[in-house]
């Protein structure tokens, strides 16, 4: 049992250390690594022990940074103002470091148009909302450069305006560059004494400089809703008299690029009419009146209405036909 416990500790230690070497920044800059050896020997038959000097190696500071895109492709309308891309700037070095951030939209390659940098163009996502909101602090180079501890990161918002008249489907790129304030340069570039606690700072594999772009895709999505009615009176005619039945048919059609996410159809029952139970249908299939697993529901309160969830609609979805019927009171 004791043996077991002893060995149990060790792999935990090993497991805890190994991933560190791969993922984290590693031993902190300024750390002193001390080593003292010992010796035992026999002299005149008696055992003697002694220790060596202690040699100390100090860990220098690695300057490394990574910029990661958080936003997927952001869909925008042509002419949209203050559209934001979200990025994370992470200090992948092993010491505390300030980073200079630089926004850029013009001249980023492999896109169809240039978004226009807003002024200011960079904000910290101070309130953690993931979008530009009142509490977010604008970034001012040299004034509030983010100072990040080893492995720490900060979320930034890159804000652009989209030129009016940009073509449907066009893709525009905008990027953020982060560079270590201490210095950048080919891996191994050394800044003597400039690291934490006065150790040398040396650029790592990222060259202490990293950039990442995000994309704005212009989408012009049009949704057409056409409603028609058919009246059947109790006398075989089509007069809107009390007791007559009105069949409503609504056709929803999406055109253009992009998707109408989580589209919801919601139609109040007209005044002076009464919904006919179980008359709701979507694309020819009957929907139950209960608010349940199927897409439709007849809702009584606060005012009578029919609802149908249509999901994410694209041009490829084709026309969606909703039908329901009422009786004239």
């Amino acid at each position: 049992m004791r043996l077991c416990r002893r060995y149990w500790l060790v792999p935990c230690l090993a497991l805890a250390c190994l991933p560190m070497a791969v993922h984290a920044a590693g031993t902190a800059a300024g750390t002193s690594i001390s080593n003292t050896a010992s010796v035992s020997y026999s002299r005149d038959g008696s055992n003697v022990t002694a220790t060596s000097n202690t040699d100390v190696v100090r860990v220098a500071e690695i300057l490394d940074v990574v910029v990661t895109r958080v936003s997927p492709v952001v869909t925008v309308d042509a002419g949209a103002a203050n559209a934001e891309l979200v990025f994370t700037v992470t200090n992948t070095g092993n010491g505390s470091e300030a980073f200079l951030l630089l926004p850029q939209s013009a001249g980023v390659t492999d896109d169809d148009y240039d978004p226009q940098l807003a002024s200011p163009a960079l904000y910290f996502d101070t309130d953690g909302s993931g979008d530009l909101s009142g509490g977010d602090v604008a970034y001012v180079p040299g004034s509030n450069d983010p100072v990040l501890a080893a492995d720490a990161s900060v979320r930034v918002l890159l804000v652009n305006d989209i030129p009016a008249g940009t073509a449907d489907g066009a893709l525009g790129r905008s990027q953020v560059t982060a560079s270590a304030r201490t210095g950048t340069g080919a891996a191994g570039t050394t800044y003597a004494g400039a690291g934490d606690a006065g150790v040398d700072a040396v650029t790592g594999t990222t060259e202490a400089d990293a950039a990442e772009y995000g994309e704005y895709q212009v989408q012009s999505l049009q949704m057409a809703v056409v409603k028609s009615q058919t009246i059947a009176d109790p006398f075989g005619g089509s007069q809107p008299v009390p007791g007559a039945r009105i069949l409503y048919r609504i056709v929803v059609t999406v055109t253009g690029s992009g998707a109408a996410a989580a589209a919801l159809f919601d139609d109040p029952i007209p005044a002076n009419t009464t919904y006919i139970a179980s008359s709701l249908a979507l694309n020819g299939s009957a929907l139950s009146d209960a608010a349940d697993a199927d897409a439709g529901a007849y809702v009584v309160a606060p005012s009578p209405r029919v609802r149908a969830t249509l999901g994410d609609l694209t041009q490829g979805s084709g026309p969606q036909t909703i039908e329901f019927a009422v009786t004239i009171n």
Partner: protein, 170 residues
């Protein structure tokens, strides 16, 4: 009180300080009146072009050391007595923030063993760790936290025994 008084006092203070420092230095060199002078040295490998124009490797004092770098630890035992010494065992815990590099320990005339816990020593094939799922596996080199060199035979007066290993800054 005047300036002179101050100066005199300061002077006396220095005297008091110097005496224990001196004693300490003497004690340190004499060790236990011991026969082995043990030295630990950190160095790093450096590639250079030798006189034949070939790229060779030499050990130099570490300059800037960053995570991922390898340090070569060299431990030298010198017999400073007039008699031969035997049963010499040199031990070194792998320093904190470092991971032992597999197969890197050697020392002429020594047998190298390792330990995970500083208690049980053995050759790499005899050391095991238990993984999270309970299976027992051969210990990876990073799990070796102690290295021990057992010197075979006697160390003659004035002779040096040198051992070394490499470890990576985590």
């Amino acid at each position: 009180m005047n300036d002179q008084h101050f100066r005199r006092r300061a002077g006396r203070g220095l005297c008091y300080l110097a005496v224990p420092l001196l004693l300490f230095a003497v004690a340190a060199s004499a060790e236990d009146g011991g026969c082995i002078e043990l030295t630990t040295t950190a160095s790093v490998e450096q590639k250079f072009r030798n006189s034949q124009g070939r790229v060779a490797t030499r050990l130099v004092p570490p300059g800037k050391v960053v995570p991922g770098d390898e340090i070569v630890w060299t431990i030298t035992a010198k017999n400073v007595c007039q008699m031969a010494l035997d049963k010499i065992v040199i031990g070194n815990p792998v320093p904190q923030h470092m991971a032992f590099v597999g197969n890197s320990a050697d020392g002429q005339g020594t047998v190298v063993t390792y330990s995970i816990d500083g208690q049980a020593y053995g050759t790499p094939s005899t050391l095991t760790v238990k993984t999270e799922d309970g299976t027992v596996q051969p210990a990876p080199p990073e799990a070796f936290r102690h290295v021990r060199w057992t010197y075979q035979g006697a160390l003659a007066p004035g002779a040096l025994a040198s051992v070394r290993y490499r470890a990576t800054v985590i």
